[in-house]
Symmetry: C3
């Protein structure tokens, strides 16, 4: 029997199944610095312990998306090693900030299964939870992927498609304990615009661009212990290209969005997301945002803002879909998230 | 109104103006390791806590140039986003070592303005100070840049050109508190040559070379939160090349200078510097130094040495300028600094 | 007199000579994170403080191979700057784990010399010891290299060829103090296979591949302060290629071997190794292993497993040598080591 991990195939999943993912990971000062080296991240709360402390936190946490990537990376060997496509995200919430010294592990529950009509693949829905060394859940999200069957003749499971919220109710967003923006220093944060200055429907071109490099996306993806072969092995795809981990584009776009959204400090909810087109080394990524919604929170001074974040590899800002309703070929990412901003 | 930062134009500056730069930055073990991964840095005081402690410091500080890059990086969005050229440095002094856990921020005072005769651009002089979370100034320097006007018809300001020292008086150099070289271990430091072994006018070919990579200069420049588009976006320049941050070449040349100047441990003064020619990925950088001056300090056992550090992309060592007085095309950097060395 | 280090030539060595290598190095959270960014390392003991503590250690140590690279890197300026070839390793043992904050230094004793019949080169055998800031030896190994003579007419030294163990006696392996696998969590470690599940002669194809990048091997090699020009300077070799540090391939292959050997947690012995063919950027590295031997240890629950680890740049797994007895052209590395595994 081979000792290597062949990954799970569609017929290996059952609704209700709980998968505890391997290799817990302690994060620290090194991951934090690498995140700032790999992405043009400038949100002050993640750059400065002093700024984070003035905001009521014990120190600067690991970037929310870095926490997401670590939790996500652990699921790859069990969930997406034989995946054909990453189809969507929903109901993502950040529940506790992650600090240097924390050890993260992940577990996923299978919450839905649907065999495709071709009989060769199926869709697997999992709810993944990342927890720290104290057993506290630090984040959770639903992801669904299309997975190959090992045996085409294996019987189809009963179809279960979970009902997922299109958007997280702002009342369900978790504000980190102690967070307050009463002493918020807009000059230190980099921009004057507060929650009240953004209007629903407003769009922002983030202007800056970053050209993708093989060494950078591989270092990032490895740091999250994501093991998908297609990101690292140039002989894996017939075209000799290494497909860039979609999360690399998410982090890059979010970092670029600092320019215009410097005060959208913390990400607390992931409503949905699509990797519209594949990304490869050599492309230059730009980003734009659209304000989709706004909500007050029960913490004085802290507002929630719902943002669409789009990453592109060219074309004009604010162009998303063609007349056929499909993403334009230059669109790489369409992400829908909630962030916290000073009122 | 656009929410992104358009940068300041020439007419936005006034002599006496104080600009507090955004996004304080906590540095730590990650930045330290990345500095050693990105540059062949080997000076023992920055490599070993034990060596630093034997030299009277609490531990190994962040490399002096890394501290400079962090302080400098913060100024870019306010000072050089619309700069045409970085013209010079003067009166740079390191005043306090930076240790893991320190949070740095920067502020710049406009100390000079001079519109160019073409009416389209002008020179802005700023004195920048970097300070830590205790409000202590850790370094300061003067920089002048050529900046575009937004409106060519805007009136020219009164010309103020600051008088800047060509060379920092060695009496004004600040020796870090507690520093002493009484127990200096030359074997551990890597070379036997002490202050007395260097002669004014002596030149040293540092022999080693490093070929520049896109991923490396971008990671370094990002780590310092330098936001100049030209370093990251291959679509920004008509030739499709990413211009390498001049500070990357400074750090690379300084690290290469270990071979022959292993005991020039700490940089304490920046007398001047010119980025003679642009640097791009694929070039191989070598370095040479010339001893310009020597001075004693008021700390027993600690000498100051004034060095010219030249980085090249080819050609013979020690060739700097052509018959026309201009830098030779292979010269990338001409830096003039003071370092501390055991007597 | 040139102030730069010309390196030692064959006639500069004498049997019994002790060389204390320069530039002690403090390692920490940054080196740890970079190791995980540069290699797909997933062994749980090095990824998670919690897992390491459950195994009786104070926390997650620096990867064993990272410790080796730091100790090795220090020897390069004194041992292999003028080396023509790195010929072999023997009698390598890890004696103490290295933790964040430790400062490493290296010293080598010349234990053998043999001039080659061509009179132009000779073989130098050194036993290198790396020690921490408390003077404890953390690892030791023997290496032999072919070194050029400065002066072909220099007399040949008496030939001394040390007797080196082909394989370290398992009784001589040092189990880290406190290590125990009584509470070993196989699910967290990533695989079920324990010591008893591996058979001598068994071979494992590790399946995954990683394409080599210039920025990655240079960052790794620099981090270990290895100064060999050939790794960094594209103008050094006539073919314009940068030769990749053999240790980069060792770490990469070991990380790839997680898939099938996730429970071979700690490396404690290096029996031998050959860099069979040079590696360059752009190649895709895969790895396979063969179980060479197994042994019990005097720590209950901890078994030793002797593994051959082979890295390739193509070809079929398990092919090592041609009919002529020579390594096949696709073989990059043939390493023979002892690891610890739960019984």
């Amino acid at each position: 029997m081979a000792k290597t991990n062949p990954g799970r195939f569609f017929e290996d999943y059952a609704v209700g199944q709980l998968i505890e993912h391997a290799v817990p990971r302690t994060v620290g000062a090194g991951e934090r610095a690498l995140y700032h080296a790999l992405y043009p991240a400038r949100h002050a709360l993640y750059s400065s312990d002093a700024f984070a402390q003035a905001s009521g936190l014990p120190g600067s946490p690991l970037d929310d998306l870095a926490a997401f990537h670590v939790v996500f990376g652990k699921t790859v060997p069990d969930v997406s090693l034989n995946a054909v496509a990453n189809l969507g995200y929903a109901e993502g919430r950040w529940l506790k900030p992650v600090y240097a010294g924390d050890t993260l592990q992940s577990a996923s529950e299978v919450i839905g299964l649907k065999q495709n009509s071709n009989g060769k693949t199926g869709v697997v829905y999992v709810r993944t939870r990342g927890s720290n060394q104290r057993g506290e859940v630090v984040m959770e999200y639903v992801r669904w992927v299309m997975v190959r069957k090992r045996d085409i003749d294996a019987p189809a499971p009963d179809t279960v498609v979970p009902e997922l919220a299109k958007v997280i109710d702002p009342a369900d967003l978790v504000i980190p304990e102690g967070l307050n923006f009463a002493n918020y220093d807009f000059a230190a944060a980099g921009e004057d615009h507060r929650w009240g200055d953004y209007e629903i429907g407003e769009t922002i071109d983030h202007v800056d661009g970053v050209t993708l490099e093989e060494a950078e996306h591989m270092m990032a993806t490895r740091l999250w212990q994501n093991t998908a072969k297609v990101h690292f092995d140039a002989t894996f795809r017939p075209d000799g290209q290494r497909l860039i981990y979609g999360g690399h584009i998410i982090s890059l776009a979010r970092a670029l969005s600092f320019n215009g959204l410097a005060n959208a400090q913390m990400i607390v909810g992931l409503n949905g997301g699509a990797h519209a087109n594949p990304a490869f080394s050599g492309l230059t990524v730009k980003a734009w945002s659209e304000v989709l919604d706004k909500a007050e929170t029960d913490v004085p001074g802290v507002g929630a803002i719902r943002l669409r974040l789009v990453a592109t590899k060219g074309g004009e800002p604010f162009a998303l879909r063609g007349d056929d309703g499909k993403y334009l070929p230059d669109v790489l990412l369409d992400l829908d998230y909630w962030a916290l901003m000073p009122l």
